[in-house]
């Protein structure tokens, strides 16, 4: 007998029925897009277009257009890469890790979070691809294809190659996971469609799903295994991303703490981005009953936890640099905090370590305005974290004559803007044409979360509950 917590709020509020769930979510796919959607889409396309011009310039003229120099050979490119990959992590965390932990509150946010993951990984993958300079021959450098370019095979000893495998696996497995989750919802939209064209379109997308018990049985097994596979996968991805730095010998990079520290940071920034997007979707699509204050509070609590882990990692790094007695290591860290990039270091410390601690206050944690504001602050902080790690470790080279200060050019800035345009373009397309909340999963938790929680609250937990069977009563 599982126990229902008496204090839990129901997952979906407003006394929604299963029919309401279908209507509330499918409505946004079926209705004409709103004026606001067109405005948002126009802005995204402007960003994509203007950024795209600069990206075309990079492809045509080469990445010398960026502000990189002999000493700082990596700057915004890999900063943005790591930042976008990190953002992607929350989607998999919500859909996979929280599924394994049976956290049912994930059901109303997982779809949008997974979509965000996929789009963020696309934006991340853009950076190494454009950084190749000649992406059209890049397949030979990153994939084990027979070729005549120098050494015959790619180097499997290089963390950069591990990254290729990690990111591409992560992207494709996330895409499959997301799509498998979408199939039943596409079938719902297909069966509601009034025009033959949309019946055809969603019919193709739904793969002929009927919701038969046998299909659901295998589907559930598939989802669980995909969650089980995605959980180590998501942890491995940012671990391998951190290996890009950790396996080098640059003071400030050569650190064993990087894998857990990067993973925590990734989840931290990912949840912040999920909050930013979900608060907007919740408002625009009036999903207050599905994405409740409890959901927001839960995500804010995860932000406190991961933000604190990140804070401890910063402190540990500093302590170990001092404790190691290696003066180069010590210099790298003191230079971070007090050198020419002190402003970036302190921006990172303020945004990532101090600001999430405000969420200990319940009023702030349950305030939409504060949550939205802090979620953006966290992502600014996480961008600075990567910038600090990358640029401040490189800009003081071994020879003082090579010491430089990195300044971005318009091409650095605009190619970053391009990825924002791409991300929001894809996200708004998704928000219009795909169901933003996983209807099937929300329906599955609806009965447990509503009627049973209400009934359980009226009944003492120890008393036998009338009419309730063992296998149908579930704790959230």
């Amino acid at each position: 007998m599982q126990i229902i917590s008496e204090v839990r709020e129901p997952l979906v509020t407003g006394g929604k029925t299963i029919k309401d769930v279908t209507n509330d979510i499918a409505r946004h796919v079926e209705n004409q897009p709103t004026r606001l959607w067109f405005i948002c889409m126009a802005i995204s396309i402007i960003l994509l277009g203007t950024g795209g011009y600069f990206v075309g310039d990079l492809a045509w003229n080469g990445i010398g257009r960026w502000g990189l120099n002999k000493t700082v050979q990596w700057a915004w490119d890999i900063t943005n890469f790591v930042w976008w990959v990190g953002i992607g992590h929350a989607g998999t965390l919500i859909s996979a890790i929280l599924l394994l932990f049976r956290q049912k509150w994930r059901t109303s946010i997982n779809r949008a979070a997974e979509a965000m993951t996929i789009f963020a990984v696309i934006c991340a993958a853009f950076w190494p691809v454009i950084h190749m300079g000649r992406p059209w021959v890049g397949a030979y450098w990153v994939l084990p294809l027979p070729n005549t370019f120098g050494s015959l095979w790619v180097n499997f000893n290089s963390p950069l190659l591990w990254d290729v495998f990690a990111i591409s696996t992560y992207f494709s497995v996330s895409l499959v996971f997301w799509y498998v989750g979408l199939i039943p919802d596409f079938a719902t939209i297909r069966d509601r469609a009034t025009s033959a064209a949309s019946r055809f379109f969603y019919g193709v997308l739904s793969f002929g799903w009927t919701g038969s018990a046998k299909d659901w049985m295998h589907y559930e097994a598939v989802s669980l295994i995909l969650a089980g596979l995605s959980t180590p996968l998501v942890l491995s991805v940012h671990t391998i991303v951190s290996f890009d730095f950790a396996t080098s010998v640059i003071p400030g990079w050569h650190t064993t703490i990087f894998p857990p520290y990067f993973v925590a940071g990734a989840i931290f920034s990912g949840f912040a981005m999920v909050l930013t997007l979900m608060l907007v979707i919740r408002k625009v699509y009036r999903l207050e009953d599905y994405i409740t204050m409890e959901h927001i509070e839960m995500m804010n609590i995860i932000i406190i936890v991961t933000g604190s882990i990140v804070g401890i990692a910063y402190t540990t790094e500093f302590f170990i640099a001092w404790y190691s007695g290696v003066e180069y290591e010590q210099y790298a860290f003191i230079n971070r905090a007090t050198g020419p990039y002190w402003w970036a270091y302190w921006a990172m410390m303020t945004c990532n370590v101090i600001s999430p601690q405000l969420f200990w206050i319940k009023k702030i944690r349950t305030s939409l305005v504060w949550t939205f504001f802090l979620s953006i602050i966290v992502n600014i902080g996480m961008w600075f974290e990567r910038f600090v790690i990358i640029v401040t470790s490189l800009h003081r080279d071994y020879l003082p004559s090579s010491w430089v200060y990195f300044t971005p050019t318009i091409h650095d800035i605009m190619s970053y803007v391009f990825t924002f345009g791409l991300f929001f373009f894809l996200f708004f397309l998704f928000a219009k044409f795909f169901p933003v909340v996983n209807m099937a999963e929300v329906k599955a938790v609806l009965k447990d979360s509503n009627s049973k929680v209400y009934r359980a609250r009226r009944t003492l937990v120890n008393e036998p509950l009338p009419q309730l069977e063992e296998n149908t009563v579930e704790a959230k």
Binding site: T17, I18, F207, A440
Partner: protein, 207 residues
Amino acid sequence: MAMEKDKHYLIGVFSDHDDLLHGIEDMRDKGVKIHEVYSPYPVHGLEHALGYKRSWMPKAAFGFGALGTTLAITMQVSMMAIDWPMIIGGKSYLAVPDFVPVSFEMTVLLAAFGMVGTFLVTRDLKPYKVPRIFDIRATDDKHIVAVDLAANKLSEEQISSLFKEAHAEEVYRRDFADEEKSPSFISYMVDLFTNGVTRSSRISTHR
């Protein structure tokens, strides 16, 4: 339609999944053979109530995962140590720890794709499938139980009253002309091109 309808089903409609579960168990105890149940969301315990065998998808995942590991190790060892050995920092050609990340990723990749592929192929889920839909509410808010009358010894009236005893909200009969259509990809595309998207007979015309 002139065609004779020779597939006869009795459809029971349920709203509550607990009623559905108990109803299915009772009906099966009384000897009703159930064709299939269609639900808008996964109902836990339904596969047991229907007496289905446990899903073998985990085995498929394991098999494909093992294949992924094997391929990854074979690829890395053959490329790095056999086909074109290169001296990298004076390290061993067979740098086993370095092969762990790629082996892991390929395991996950093949396990995930292999399992999902197996799922789609064995359940015959594909973009050009035209499914037989008993009741379109099955993807909205109702659980639809279909009983094939030809496969049951009990009469239609008996099954109907058993449905009522199981608290089915609605019981009705539905007849189909033929077996479930499963067009080949080619016939699907031909139909689509000749009739166009909006008039193709290959879209689910269940309204």
